[in-house]
Protein backbone atom coordinates (compact mmCIF):
# COMPACT_ATOMS: atom_id res chain seq x y z
CA UNK A 1 0.00 0.00 0.00
CA UNK A 2 2.80 2.36 0.91
CA UNK A 3 4.63 1.44 -2.26
CA UNK A 4 1.50 2.08 -4.32
CA UNK A 5 0.90 5.45 -2.73
CA UNK A 6 4.53 6.50 -3.21
CA UNK A 7 4.28 5.36 -6.84
CA UNK A 8 1.15 7.46 -7.29
CA UNK A 9 2.89 10.43 -5.67
CA UNK A 10 5.82 10.12 -8.08
CA UNK A 11 3.40 9.79 -11.02
CA UNK A 12 1.59 12.92 -9.84
CA UNK A 13 4.88 14.77 -9.46
CA UNK A 14 6.00 13.89 -12.96
CA UNK A 15 2.58 14.32 -14.56
CA UNK A 16 3.73 17.38 -16.56
CA UNK A 17 6.53 15.28 -18.05
CA UNK A 18 4.04 12.60 -19.05
CA UNK A 19 1.88 15.25 -20.65
CA UNK A 20 4.89 16.61 -22.52
CA UNK A 21 5.58 13.07 -23.74
CA UNK A 22 1.98 12.75 -24.92
CA UNK A 23 2.27 16.09 -26.70
CA UNK A 24 5.47 14.82 -28.32
CA UNK A 25 3.62 11.72 -29.56
CA UNK A 26 0.94 13.91 -31.13
CA UNK A 27 3.48 16.21 -32.74
CA UNK A 28 5.46 13.22 -34.00
CA UNK A 29 2.33 11.81 -35.63
CA UNK A 30 1.52 15.12 -37.35
CA UNK A 31 5.18 15.69 -38.29
CA UNK A 32 5.68 12.24 -39.79
CA UNK A 33 2.47 12.64 -41.74
CA UNK A 34 3.20 16.00 -43.35
CA UNK A 35 6.96 15.56 -43.77
CA UNK A 36 8.34 13.73 -46.78
CA UNK A 37 11.94 12.79 -46.08
CA UNK A 38 13.57 10.37 -48.43
CA UNK A 39 12.51 7.31 -46.46
CA UNK A 40 10.47 6.10 -43.53
CA UNK A 41 12.28 4.37 -40.68
CA UNK A 42 13.13 0.88 -41.91
CA UNK A 43 15.81 -1.74 -41.90
CA UNK A 44 18.11 0.57 -43.87
CA UNK A 45 18.49 2.77 -40.81
CA UNK A 46 16.71 5.80 -42.27
Amino acid sequence: MTRLSSLLRVAQEYRPVLRLALLAVGLLAVGLGVAAPECFPDDNGC
Binding site: R19, L22, A29, G31, L32, A35, A36, F40, P41, C46
Partner: protein, 210 residues
Protein backbone atom coordinates in the same frame (compact mmCIF):
# COMPACT_ATOMS: atom_id res chain seq x y z
CA UNK B 1 15.40 10.52 -39.52
CA UNK B 2 14.91 14.24 -39.08
CA UNK B 3 11.37 14.29 -37.63
CA UNK B 4 12.10 11.60 -35.02
CA UNK B 5 15.38 13.33 -34.14
CA UNK B 6 13.64 16.73 -33.84
CA UNK B 7 10.94 15.26 -31.57
CA UNK B 8 13.55 13.60 -29.34
CA UNK B 9 15.57 16.82 -29.15
CA UNK B 10 12.48 18.94 -28.48
CA UNK B 11 11.27 16.60 -25.74
CA UNK B 12 14.69 16.51 -24.07
CA UNK B 13 14.92 20.33 -24.10
CA UNK B 14 11.34 20.69 -22.87
CA UNK B 15 11.85 18.27 -19.97
CA UNK B 16 15.11 20.04 -19.04
CA UNK B 17 13.32 23.39 -19.12
CA UNK B 18 10.46 22.07 -17.00
CA UNK B 19 12.93 20.56 -14.51
CA UNK B 20 14.83 23.85 -14.30
CA UNK B 21 11.62 25.82 -13.74
CA UNK B 22 10.53 23.43 -10.98
CA UNK B 23 13.88 23.86 -9.22
CA UNK B 24 13.68 27.62 -9.64
CA UNK B 25 10.17 27.65 -8.16
CA UNK B 26 11.34 25.81 -5.06
CA UNK B 27 10.82 22.44 -3.43
CA UNK B 28 7.31 21.08 -3.10
CA UNK B 29 5.97 22.99 -6.04
CA UNK B 30 5.82 20.15 -8.54
CA UNK B 31 2.46 18.84 -7.42
CA UNK B 32 0.65 21.86 -8.79
CA UNK B 33 2.54 22.01 -12.05
CA UNK B 34 0.44 21.80 -15.15
CA UNK B 35 1.95 21.42 -18.53
CA UNK B 36 1.24 20.74 -22.12
CA UNK B 37 -2.14 20.27 -23.64
CA UNK B 38 -2.23 17.36 -26.04
CA UNK B 39 -2.50 17.79 -29.78
CA UNK B 40 -6.20 17.78 -30.59
CA UNK B 41 -7.30 14.93 -32.89
CA UNK B 42 -3.81 13.40 -32.78
CA UNK B 43 -5.18 9.83 -33.18
CA UNK B 44 -6.39 10.91 -36.63
CA UNK B 45 -2.83 11.98 -37.44
CA UNK B 46 -1.48 8.66 -36.13
CA UNK B 47 -4.04 6.74 -38.21
CA UNK B 48 -3.08 8.81 -41.28
CA UNK B 49 0.58 7.92 -40.78
CA UNK B 50 -0.37 4.23 -40.45
CA UNK B 51 -2.29 4.44 -43.74
CA UNK B 52 0.69 6.19 -45.36
CA UNK B 53 3.05 3.45 -44.15
CA UNK B 54 0.73 0.88 -45.71
CA UNK B 55 0.50 2.84 -48.98
CA UNK B 56 4.29 3.07 -49.40
CA UNK B 57 4.87 -0.55 -48.41
CA UNK B 58 5.45 -3.45 -50.76
CA UNK B 59 1.96 -4.89 -50.24
CA UNK B 60 0.34 -1.74 -51.67
CA UNK B 61 2.29 -1.98 -54.93
CA UNK B 62 -0.51 -4.06 -56.43
CA UNK B 63 -2.93 -1.14 -56.08
CA UNK B 64 -3.37 1.13 -59.13
CA UNK B 65 -0.97 4.06 -58.74
CA UNK B 66 -3.84 6.54 -59.13
CA UNK B 67 -5.64 5.01 -56.17
CA UNK B 68 -2.49 5.00 -54.08
CA UNK B 69 -1.88 8.68 -54.83
CA UNK B 70 -5.51 9.58 -54.10
CA UNK B 71 -5.37 7.73 -50.78
CA UNK B 72 -2.04 9.39 -49.91
CA UNK B 73 -3.51 12.83 -50.57
CA UNK B 74 -6.62 11.96 -48.58
CA UNK B 75 -4.33 11.39 -45.59
CA UNK B 76 -2.61 14.69 -46.39
CA UNK B 77 -5.96 16.49 -46.24
CA UNK B 78 -6.75 14.82 -42.90
CA UNK B 79 -3.33 15.83 -41.53
CA UNK B 80 -3.77 19.41 -42.76
CA UNK B 81 -7.09 19.48 -40.88
CA UNK B 82 -5.44 18.26 -37.66
CA UNK B 83 -2.63 20.78 -38.04
CA UNK B 84 -4.92 23.77 -38.62
CA UNK B 85 -7.05 22.73 -35.62
CA UNK B 86 -3.94 23.04 -33.44
CA UNK B 87 -2.56 26.35 -34.68
CA UNK B 88 -2.80 27.77 -31.14
CA UNK B 89 0.38 25.89 -30.17
CA UNK B 90 3.57 27.92 -30.42
CA UNK B 91 5.62 26.63 -33.32
CA UNK B 92 2.64 25.17 -35.14
CA UNK B 93 2.85 27.85 -37.84
CA UNK B 94 6.33 26.53 -38.72
CA UNK B 95 4.78 23.11 -39.21
CA UNK B 96 2.07 24.67 -41.35
CA UNK B 97 4.68 26.46 -43.48
CA UNK B 98 6.72 23.26 -43.86
CA UNK B 99 3.63 21.29 -44.81
CA UNK B 100 2.66 23.92 -47.39
CA UNK B 101 6.13 23.81 -48.98
CA UNK B 102 6.15 20.01 -49.09
CA UNK B 103 2.64 19.79 -50.51
CA UNK B 104 3.48 22.45 -53.12
CA UNK B 105 6.50 20.60 -54.51
CA UNK B 106 4.71 17.24 -54.34
CA UNK B 107 1.66 18.59 -56.16
CA UNK B 108 3.88 20.22 -58.80
CA UNK B 109 5.59 16.89 -59.51
CA UNK B 110 2.70 14.49 -59.86
CA UNK B 111 1.85 13.96 -56.18
CA UNK B 112 5.08 12.54 -54.73
CA UNK B 113 8.20 14.20 -53.30
CA UNK B 114 10.93 14.32 -55.96
CA UNK B 115 14.47 13.22 -55.17
CA UNK B 116 17.36 13.01 -57.61
CA UNK B 117 19.81 10.15 -58.07
CA UNK B 118 22.66 12.48 -57.00
CA UNK B 119 20.90 13.19 -53.70
CA UNK B 120 20.27 9.47 -53.14
CA UNK B 121 23.99 8.79 -53.56
CA UNK B 122 24.95 11.70 -51.26
CA UNK B 123 22.46 10.45 -48.65
CA UNK B 124 23.95 6.94 -48.65
CA UNK B 125 21.11 5.29 -50.54
CA UNK B 126 22.72 4.89 -53.94
CA UNK B 127 21.84 1.20 -53.81
CA UNK B 128 18.18 2.15 -54.32
CA UNK B 129 19.05 3.26 -57.86
CA UNK B 130 19.59 -0.37 -58.88
CA UNK B 131 15.93 -1.21 -58.26
CA UNK B 132 14.24 2.13 -59.07
CA UNK B 133 13.80 3.57 -62.54
CA UNK B 134 13.51 7.29 -63.33
CA UNK B 135 9.95 8.42 -62.64
CA UNK B 136 9.24 5.45 -60.35
CA UNK B 137 8.27 5.80 -56.68
CA UNK B 138 10.90 4.88 -54.13
CA UNK B 139 10.15 1.90 -51.94
CA UNK B 140 9.06 2.75 -48.37
CA UNK B 141 8.95 6.51 -48.94
CA UNK B 142 6.72 9.21 -50.37
CA UNK B 143 9.42 10.03 -52.91
CA UNK B 144 9.72 9.62 -56.65
CA UNK B 145 13.03 9.43 -58.50
CA UNK B 146 13.33 12.42 -60.85
CA UNK B 147 16.31 14.15 -62.46
CA UNK B 148 16.80 17.58 -60.91
CA UNK B 149 16.55 19.26 -64.34
CA UNK B 150 13.04 17.82 -64.76
CA UNK B 151 11.90 18.68 -61.24
CA UNK B 152 9.53 21.60 -60.72
CA UNK B 153 10.27 23.71 -57.62
CA UNK B 154 13.50 21.71 -57.26
CA UNK B 155 14.72 23.89 -54.38
CA UNK B 156 11.86 22.53 -52.26
CA UNK B 157 12.51 18.86 -53.05
CA UNK B 158 14.42 16.33 -50.93
CA UNK B 159 17.94 17.59 -51.58
CA UNK B 160 19.42 18.32 -48.15
CA UNK B 161 21.68 15.70 -46.59
CA UNK B 162 23.09 15.90 -43.07
CA UNK B 163 25.90 13.38 -42.54
CA UNK B 164 26.27 11.15 -40.61
CA UNK B 165 22.46 10.78 -40.83
CA UNK B 166 21.42 8.72 -43.82
CA UNK B 167 18.78 9.86 -46.26
CA UNK B 168 17.75 13.31 -47.38
CA UNK B 169 15.06 15.82 -46.53
CA UNK B 170 13.49 19.00 -47.83
CA UNK B 171 13.35 22.60 -46.62
CA UNK B 172 9.76 21.88 -45.59
CA UNK B 173 10.88 18.90 -43.49
CA UNK B 174 13.41 21.18 -41.78
CA UNK B 175 10.68 23.70 -40.91
CA UNK B 176 8.46 20.89 -39.59
CA UNK B 177 11.30 19.66 -37.35
CA UNK B 178 11.91 23.20 -36.10
CA UNK B 179 8.19 23.64 -35.40
CA UNK B 180 8.10 20.46 -33.30
CA UNK B 181 11.05 21.64 -31.18
CA UNK B 182 9.43 25.08 -30.70
CA UNK B 183 6.01 23.60 -29.86
CA UNK B 184 7.44 21.35 -27.15
CA UNK B 185 9.52 24.16 -25.66
CA UNK B 186 6.57 26.53 -25.78
CA UNK B 187 4.49 24.02 -23.85
CA UNK B 188 7.24 23.60 -21.24
CA UNK B 189 7.59 27.38 -20.93
CA UNK B 190 3.84 27.78 -20.33
CA UNK B 191 3.87 25.54 -17.24
CA UNK B 192 5.63 27.95 -14.81
CA UNK B 193 3.31 30.80 -15.86
CA UNK B 194 0.33 28.62 -15.06
CA UNK B 195 1.80 27.73 -11.68
CA UNK B 196 2.47 31.40 -10.82
CA UNK B 197 -1.15 32.24 -11.71
CA UNK B 198 -2.41 29.34 -9.56
CA UNK B 199 -0.25 30.55 -6.65
CA UNK B 200 -1.55 34.12 -6.95
CA UNK B 201 -5.12 32.84 -6.91
CA UNK B 202 -4.37 30.61 -3.91
CA UNK B 203 -2.66 33.49 -2.06
CA UNK B 204 -5.61 35.81 -2.59
CA UNK B 205 -8.09 33.17 -1.46
CA UNK B 206 -6.19 32.64 1.81
CA UNK B 207 -6.75 36.32 2.66
CA UNK B 208 -10.41 36.09 1.72
CA UNK B 209 -10.24 37.69 -1.75
CA UNK B 210 -11.37 35.49 -4.66
Amino acid sequence: MIIVAATALGLALAVARWHWSVNAAGAGSTGNHRAAQTVRWWPIAAASVAVQLYLVGDHALTLPSGWRLAALWATNVALAGVLTTNLGFPGMRWLLAGMALNFAVMAANGGLMPVSSETLVRGGHGAALARTGVGAPLRRSKDVLLPEAETRLALLSDRIVAPPLRGSFSVGDGLIGLGIVLALNGAAAAAPRMVRKERRTAAWSTVGVT
